[in-house]
């Protein structure tokens, strides 16, 4: 392992972890320096697979994946202290969190040349991977998986293809894409169905969409050439994206949502509880305060 990159004392942790982890830079295309944070498996690093994780954007950092999703260290709201994530993926695998492309997070290019595209990014990631295995040759024969999320739906398959077609000896076995973009048109067309079947748009708008965008068997929404259809599609997507719903998670509050819809009174949870418990004698604060305390502990 590349000892100079070993992280021996991570601030904010009460006790340092039993597994080793490393943070530093990998060479990529041109002068690009891509930051990586590599955590060894808590289980059996020598034999467990190596998993590369990439958040999407494009332009978003994989440190979010590390510190609030699948990584072992999660940040408390105080922005100073950390707690260990009991469901970290390094329970079963060695995980590389790669910040790509240059310009994202801690990754940089000394000349600040940041214009890029899908193919440049996949090539940069492929070179960074080879740079990683130069730093950690002992992992070269472990099974290897490329994983990612969101715009990682482009990053993961394009990097996997380079590994398939390239001559670097990487023991690649598979890939995983979470809530990833796979096809832009189907992503937005399917959203129209999602909106209707989740009750975000009513029957009138749905009937209008069917009338103007469909021919009885097939619907073209976002790429329709019919202005009437496009008007209704725009109305539908406006409801999804612009009225304060949490686009990333329909049933969660929208942190810092658009001021126009910020509820002066209630969070979503309180709103729902008021509906669910509305039929009970009105002592609402008492009713759902204890619930919220219990809820934070329940699984």
């Amino acid at each position: 392992a590349y000892a100079p990159d070993e992280v021996t004392n991570l601030p904010g942790l009460k006790t340092q972890p039993t597994f080793r982890h490393y943070s530093g830079y990998l060479n990529a295309s041109g002068e690009d320096r891509l930051h990586y944070w590599f955590v060894e498996s808590e289980n059996d690093p020598a034999n467990d697979p190596v998993v590369l994780w990439m958040n999407g954007g494009p332009g978003c950092s994989s440190m979010d994946g590390m510190l609030s999703e699948l990584g072992p260290f999660h940040v408390n709201n105080d922005g100073q202290s950390l707690y260990m994530n009991e469901f970290s993926w390094n329970k079963v695998a060695n995980v590389i969190f790669l910040e790509a492309p240059a310009g994202v997070g801690y990754s940089y290019n000394p000349s600040k040349e940041y214009a890029t595209d899908d193919d440049k990014v996949s090539m940069g990631n492929y070179l960074a991977l080879q740079s990683f295995f130069k730093k950690f040759p002992e992992y070269a024969s472990n099974e290897f998986y490329v994983t990612g999320e969101s715009y990682g739906g482009i990053y993961v398959p394009t990097l996997s293809l380079r590994i398939l077609q390239g001559n670097a000896t990487i023991n690649m076995k598979g890939f995983a894409v979470g809530n990833g973009i796979t096809n832009f048109t189907t992503n937005s067309d399917s959203l129209v169905y999602f909106a209707y079947y989740h009750g975000l748009i009513g029957l009138n708008l749905w009937k209008g969409l069917n009338d103007k965008c469909c021919d009885g068997t097939y619907c073209v929404f976002t790429e329709s050439t019919d202005t009437g259809c496009l008007t209704l599609v725009r109305e539908t997507l406006n409801i999804v994206y612009n009225i304060g719903l949490n686009t990333y998670s329909l049933y969660l509050d929208c942190y810092n949502g658009p001021s126009s819809v910020k509820s002066p009174l209630l969070t979503r949870y309180q709103f729902d509880m008021q509906h669910a418990l509305g039929h009970l004698p009105t002592q609402p604060p008492k009713y759902y305060q204890p619930m919220s305390a219990i809820l934070s502990k329940s699984k």
Binding site: V7, G59, G79, D118, T147, A176, N179, F184, D253, G257
Partner: protein, 145 residues
């Protein structure tokens, strides 16, 4: 220019990663700017679909495509349509998968690819359904159903 995705609270992570002691511990270069969760890079999208790419890589590698089913940025239906369009050989019907006794979502197995939903989760599955996410990725890495 920093770009913060809507509705997501990243104040804790951003504060932590910009602590001088953390930058030092993580061996961050002086040239690296202050950390932001997303950066508005001049980025050109080339691929409108990953159809051909999936077709190539699935000749050699196993795939897992999973979706938290309350996400509207990349919703589960669109990815389901995409995987169906690949016309892979189906191995199992769509069926619930569980964590303990609780239904955790649905899975449909094809030759070389598993299509999974994670029930009630949004875009960041490992954040919103961590136990289910760990079980799912463990099964995938160990090539178990």
């Amino acid at each position: 220019l920093g770009v913060v995705p809507p509705c997501i609270n990243v104040t804790g992570v951003t504060a932590y990663l910009n602590l001088p002691a953390v930058r030092k511990a993580l061996h961050i270069a002086e040239e690296a700017t202050a950390w932001e969760i997303c950066s508005a890079l001049p980025y050109k999208t080339i691929y409108a679909t990953m159809y051909d790419t999936y077709k190539s890589i699935l000749t050699q590698y196993r795939g897992l495509v999973y979706n938290g089913d309350t996400d509207m940025a990349c919703n589960f239906l669109g990815d389901e349509w995409f995987i169906e369009s690949l016309n892979l050989k189906q191995k199992t019907d769509r069926a619930p998968w569980k964590l303990g006794d609780q239904i955790a979502g649905f899975v449909k197995e094809f030759e070389g690819l598993s299509l999974v939903t994670v029930k009630g989760s949004g875009h960041m599955v490992p954040q919103e359904r961590p136990a289910q996410a760990l079980k799912m990725i463990t099964s995938f890495l160990q090539n178990k159903p």
